[in-house]
Structure formats: C-alpha cells, structure tokens
Amino acid sequence: MSAVLAVDDLVAGYVADLPIVTGVSMTLSPGELVTIIGPNGAGKSTLVKAIAGLVTVMGGRVRLEGNDITGIQTHRLPRSGVGYVAQSSNVFTSLTVHENLRVASHTLGAERAERLADAYEMFPDLKRYRDQKGRVLSGGQRQMLALGMALVCRPRVILLDEPSAGLAPAIVQDVFSRLRALADSGLALLMVEQNARAALQLSDRGYVMAEGAAKIEGPANDLLADPKVAEIYLGTRRAS
C-alpha cells in the first residue's frame, strides 16, 4: 500500500527555536481515515497546520504522492491536491454560500461551473442557502460548506482540524459519517480530533500525540481497546 501523504520527522512551530511539533512521522494511504488524538497542547493542530504550510517547518519532510511539499506555500495546496478544513472559523461569514464556493474554486478554470454544481448536488442544503451569508448558517451547515469548499478542487488528501468542535452530538455523527463515506470513496483523510472516541470508532488508524511527538500508532480499534490510551487520552470516566 503506497502512502499518498508521508510525513517524515517533521519539526515545526511559530517561533524560531521553540518547536511545538518535535519530530513526527506518519503516513496516510488512499481510502484511509486517520485520526490524531492527544491532550491539549500536544501539537496536533500545529502538525496539520505545518503540513499545510500555515506554520513554519523547521525540519523534516512532507511528501505528497512522492513529491516534496515541505513548507508548501499555502495557496498552492488546492492545486497540489490537498484540501484543508480549518478549525471552527472555516467559512467566510461575510460572503454568501455561493461566494464561499467561488473562493474555494479560485484556482479552477473552465471546469468551475461543473464542480460547483457537484458540490450543490452533494450538499443539497447549501443550494437552499446559496445566497445567504455564511454567518447565518448553523454550525452543521457551516461544516458542510467547509467540507464542500475543500472538495471543490477534487483533492486526494483532506486535512481536518477538529471538525467536530462546537457541534451538537447528532451533527457530529452526521459529519463523521460523511467523512467515512469520503474515505470509502478512495480519498485519504487526516483529522485532528478532541472527540477521540467517536472519531476513532469511524477511523481506520490513529496516532496518539503528546508533547509534540507521536507516541502511539495503530489501528483505531486497537487504540480504543488499549487501556493506556483509554486512561490517558480518552478520558477515564468511561465505564468498562
């Protein structure tokens, strides 16, 4: 199984000499949904931001289908095949739904109209709110729009930074099942999640990060069953 995304010993952070991610390696294959969990401040978000070129990379490599994209200029992400769904403020609230999708299709040419039509087909809700400003959307609708925006350029990899943050539990399930379906269709998804249990239940594999490094890696079910992981990172309130 060849990896679509390979992260090799990545070191990254906001301030020089103060790395937050201190040497992380991971891989992601087509059709895989991989979740990174870990306590607050473990560097999970910084890791995906560094892959996306939003945070300075101080060492290591990121390869996408064999091509080096380490410290990529963020605006080149869509064209190189990476979609990115940021945490919480991930749609433009002052733009309409349609304008949001137009920004997401910024780099497309003639195929734009077709891709936008695809997005509306995939998320019929968006079509209804086509000319509404982003700020009037509910949390779930925003997440669908953000996902739609990430998909417009037909990426091979999608990075998601806490897609369940601030959503009601029922909507979280909805979002997660969408992500599962996308993975099943052949996309590779790497997501950071606080909601570790629900995320792992749908994932193929998982990484547990702490203090800037990936401490444990394995199939999602193994992580769920691992008492050490359960105790430290999944919360101890669970009875079993």
Binding site: L54, L77, A86, T93, E99, V103, R135
Partner: protein, 299 residues
C-alpha cells in the same frame, strides 16, 4: 445653501475616491496607511507632468476646459500612481509584513512614507500652487441659485462610474471575491488557493489608481498644491471610519457626508475652523458607532 450643497457633493466625490483606498488598506492589509492621501497628491502631479510633456490640446471638449491630452493624463496618472503604491509596498510595507511586524510598526512607517512622498513633491515641483490649464470656465446655472462648472459635472459623473466599476468588480469578479475573502481571513483564503500577495498588489493598484483620480479631479476643480495630501489626511480617514473600515460603499457615503458637512459648516462656525469639522465628526463616530455605518467585517 443650494450652492453649498453642490460644492459639498463635489468635495465629497473627491474624498470618496480617496477614502476607498484608505478603507481597502484597512480591510485587506489591516493597517491605517497614513501615507495614502499623499498618493492623491502624486496622482495630481503625475497628470501635470504628462500634460507638461504632451502639451495641452488646442481643442477642448465642448464646454470643458480640456481636451484629449487630459484624458491621457488621467490614465497615465492612474497607472503611475498605482505603480508608486506598489513600489512603496515593495520597499517598505511588504518587508515589514514579512518580518510579521506589529500593526503599529506599519502605521509608523506610513507616517515616515507620508513625509517622504509629500516633500519629494516639493523637491521636484516646488511649493507653489499650479493649475492644469489657464482656460477660464464659466459656471452654468444648473438649478436656481446653484452654479457649477462643466468640469465639476464631469468629475461627478466619472466618480460615479469609478465607484460603480469598483462595486461590480468586488461583487462579481474572481479578484473581487478573493479580495473580500482576504479581508475577512487571509489564512482561510490562502487555504483555498488565493495568493494573498497578489490580492494585496491589486489592492494597492486599485487604491492608488482611485487616489490618482481624486488628485486629478482636485487639481482640475480646485488647484494642485504639495499639501493636498496632508490636508486630506483627516477627511479621508474620517470618511473611511465613518463608513466602516473595509466597506467601499461606506467610504463613498462617508466621503459625501464629510464633504457636505465641511461645506455647510460655514453656516454655523467661522471659516477658519472648517478644517476641524472632519475631526468633530470623527469624535462623534467614535462615541456613537465606532464600527462605522457599514462596518460589518468581523474583526
């Protein structure tokens, strides 16, 4: 009274064009560029330079004071001023951005840039007031008791066209939507493939071009002086803040309100204090509605 309103609208139109640039830099580059009004002056002088080389056309358009060479002057001034804005950005502001300097560092730098731009004008063109043409124009009575110059009517029409053009660009074009997106969140725009550096360059170019138009119109209807920019600093910022930073329509409405109130203020306060009117309005806005009339950019 009617005359004062007409004069106020005219001043307001020029202010609007300048205030648009201020509001765009506030919204997209996220700093108060105190050197923007100097671009207005430069626009006026670029046009003067073009006319000096190209000569004034013997034939003028109907009742207007100028002919074809002036049309060329407006276009050249717009391009040259946009270029100047880009040059200043490349030499000063973009370097500070790259260093991730604090917002106020950029504001300081803009003060320094303003000093440089204004006094380079004095150095090159001298301190005296100049005019584009010596042609005398007769005012036309458009309404009972309201006289305006044909040039002034043209200025008004062109301003409307420019504002309309910018409105359509921002509303419908790929660039315009990318500009609005970058104003709200540069990082989110980048993630979706927008090269924010390109957006920033266009912002300078549009702001500079409109500033040049303001300068040429001011020179045409009033006169050209090196201190135009300095005198416009407070009115432009007040118009932009009144409208709400980042809002183009706000800047236009703000410009008109400032123009009208400056003009009408002579009814109630001595003329010597007219320049303080924008400041009084500014204080009022800051008390009553710090976000401005149309400030909806989430910040």
């Amino acid at each position: 009274m009617g005359q004062l309103i007409a004069d106020g609208i005219l001043t307001g139109a020029v202010l609007s064009l300048g205030a648009i640039g201020v509001t765009l830099t506030l919204g997209i580059l996220r700093f108060a560029n105190f050197s923007h009004s100097e671009l207005v002056t430069w626009g006026g002088y670029f046009a003067l330079t073009f006319i000096a080389f190209a000569g004034t056309s013997a034939e003028t358009f109907g009742p207007l004071s100028f002919g074809w060479s002036f049309v060329g002057a407006i276009i050249i001034a717009g391009i040259a001023t946009a270029g100047l804005a880009l040059l200043v950005d490349a030499l000063v502001f973009s370097r500070l951005r790259k260093r991730r300097a604090a917002e106020m560092t950029l504001v300081f730098a803009s003060f320094g840039v303003a000093l440089l731009l204004r006094h380079i004008i004095v150095l090159i063109f001298g301190p005296h007031a100049v005019y584009y043409t010596g042609t005398l124009q007769f005012a036309v009575e458009v309404l009972p008791g309201v006289r305006v110059m044909p040039d002034q009517i043209l200025v008004l029409v062109l301003t409307l066209l420019f504002v309309l053009g910018l409105h359509l660009t921002l509303k419908f074009s790929r660039l315009g939507i990318a500009m609005r997106a970058s104003a709200e969140s540069p990082d989110l725009a980048r993630v979706h493939g927008v090269d924010v550096r390109v957006v920033i360059r266009w912002t300078w170019a549009i702001g500079g071009g409109l500033a040049a138009a303001a300068g040429v119109f001011y020179g045409l209807t009033v006169q050209l002086r090196p201190e135009i920019g300095f005198a416009l600093l407070l009115p432009l910022f007040t118009a932009a803040l009144l409208g709400g930073s980042g809002s183009v329509y706000g800047a236009v409405i703000g410009g008109l309100i400032i123009g009208l109130s400056e003009s009408l203020s002579v009814l109630i306060i001595p003329t010597g204090y007219k320049q303080a009117v924008p400041f009084l309005i500014l204080l009022l806005i800051l008390y009553l509605r710090p976000r401005g009339l149309f400030g909806d950019v989430a910040k």
